[in-house]
Symmetry: C2
Subunit: 244 residues, 2 copies
């Protein structure tokens, strides 16, 4: 199959997938980098593979050949992509597991993606995003996750509801906050736990902190200010590896 | 003083400060956010303060009133800035100190800025950037540093030369690399040390690793892949706080 015109109905539809509203409506999202497309194929979520005319297809999957014009319309990169995958959104249910990372209102897609990458690297079982977080299927989230979103279940849901459900499963929640908290190195481990991080500027909402079991913070010399993905990396590493 | 025309010679000059070449030539850089401008003023590097017409000046410094057109030309933000500071680049010399963070060819200005923020938060004494790193005075570096660049000396220099000088000061260098390395939790502390991190995709150059005293890595369950600013945060925290 071949699509030459940028006015093609499918191209117009796919272009809208930059916006969350249409990703939700169509249940589809775009993947743009070669190694990420390979991961999406392994995961079994590929719907359509687009290959730019003149490029060979390295994926061993049937492809639609598209013109440069079409590719340009669908690429968010400055340089033209050779491949684009249109993928299917699969909803994950909250799994019964041992370790979780929860994010409340983390706005930057780079931070959300980086945290998913960290969670997968340290063997966490699930990432939970509040509904106000940057979208999982935003191109910058996907890019920053380096494909980790295809390996670890990520669930988007109301954060209070998530904490309630986790409590019923016997999971203790650590809130990262500066007030009435103790240092992570003084923390005792739990068998099942979740680490909760808040918004880049405001941190966690007070009412959310109240739902949690312990407040923790990171020892710092100055500033009391870390990027949220860095703070998450330190807590995720330390609690996984040093509290056993 | 007042500048209304976007064709004003100074405005044309300042606009060029988006490019590293001109920042180096003029010895100037742009700061765009209110709290960052305050930090630049405290640091004593302010050359010109521009305030958009109709806005009050909260800085207690003499300002140039500029038109919306001028502000638009100098702003990199989508929304118009109310204030812009033109600041003087001050060269730092490599200080005699106890703890350093060194970066080789870290390309993303967000990563460089985030690492400077982390270094300052954990009380490191100096950050050293190789000449191929993203520029310290790139607007995204400044933004991600959250002003930390005004508090901690940052030196841009050849990385082999930096390691040589640090060795002469009795500073041991830890290279973060996956090959022939041991885990950070198995590392013994030194009185004076530097932590060295490499490029986002390629890591450290082999010849640079050879110059270092110890190779270290972070314990991971999967993937062996972390964002460089996250990896730096974990090592910087752990070595500063847990190896005493």
């Amino acid at each position: 199959m071949e699509i030459k015109s940028a006015d093609n109905q499918n191209v117009k539809k796919w272009e809208k997938l930059r916006q969350k509203k249409y990703r939700d409506e169509y249940g589809l999202f775009i993947v743009q980098e070669k190694h990420l497309i390979s991961e999406a194929i392994s995961k079994g979520v590929l719907e359509h593979l687009l290959v730019r005319e003149g490029c060979s297809n390295p994926f061993n999957k049937e492809a639609i050949t598209v013109s440069d014009k079409v590719m340009k319309k669908l690429s968010s990169n400055v340089s033209l992509n050779d491949y684009i995958a249109i993928c299917r959104i699969e909803k994950n249910e909250l799994p019964q597991a041992n370790s979780y990372i929860l994010l409340e209102n983390v706005q930057d897609p780079g931070n959300v993606g980086t945290i998913i990458r960290t969670a997968y690297s340290f063997g966490y079982d699930c990432v939970i995003l509040s509904e106000e977080c940057a979208s999982l299927y935003n191109e910058k989230t996907i890019q920053a996750s380096q494909g980790a979103l295809f390996h670890i279940p990520v669930v988007t849901m109301n954060i209070s509801e998530a904490i309630g459900k986790l409590h019923k499963m016997g999971v203790k929640i650590f809130a990262t906050t500066l007030s009435s908290s103790h240092f992570i190195s003084e923390t005792k481990p739990f068998e099942k736990y979740g680490l909760l991080f808040g918004n880049e500027g405001q941190g966690l909402k007070e009412e959310t902190v109240k739902l949690c079991d312990e407040n923790i913070k990171i020892e710092m010399a100055n500033f009391e200010s870390l990027n949220v993905a860095v703070a998450c990396g330190i807590c995720a590493y330390y609690i996984k590896n040093n509290l056993k």
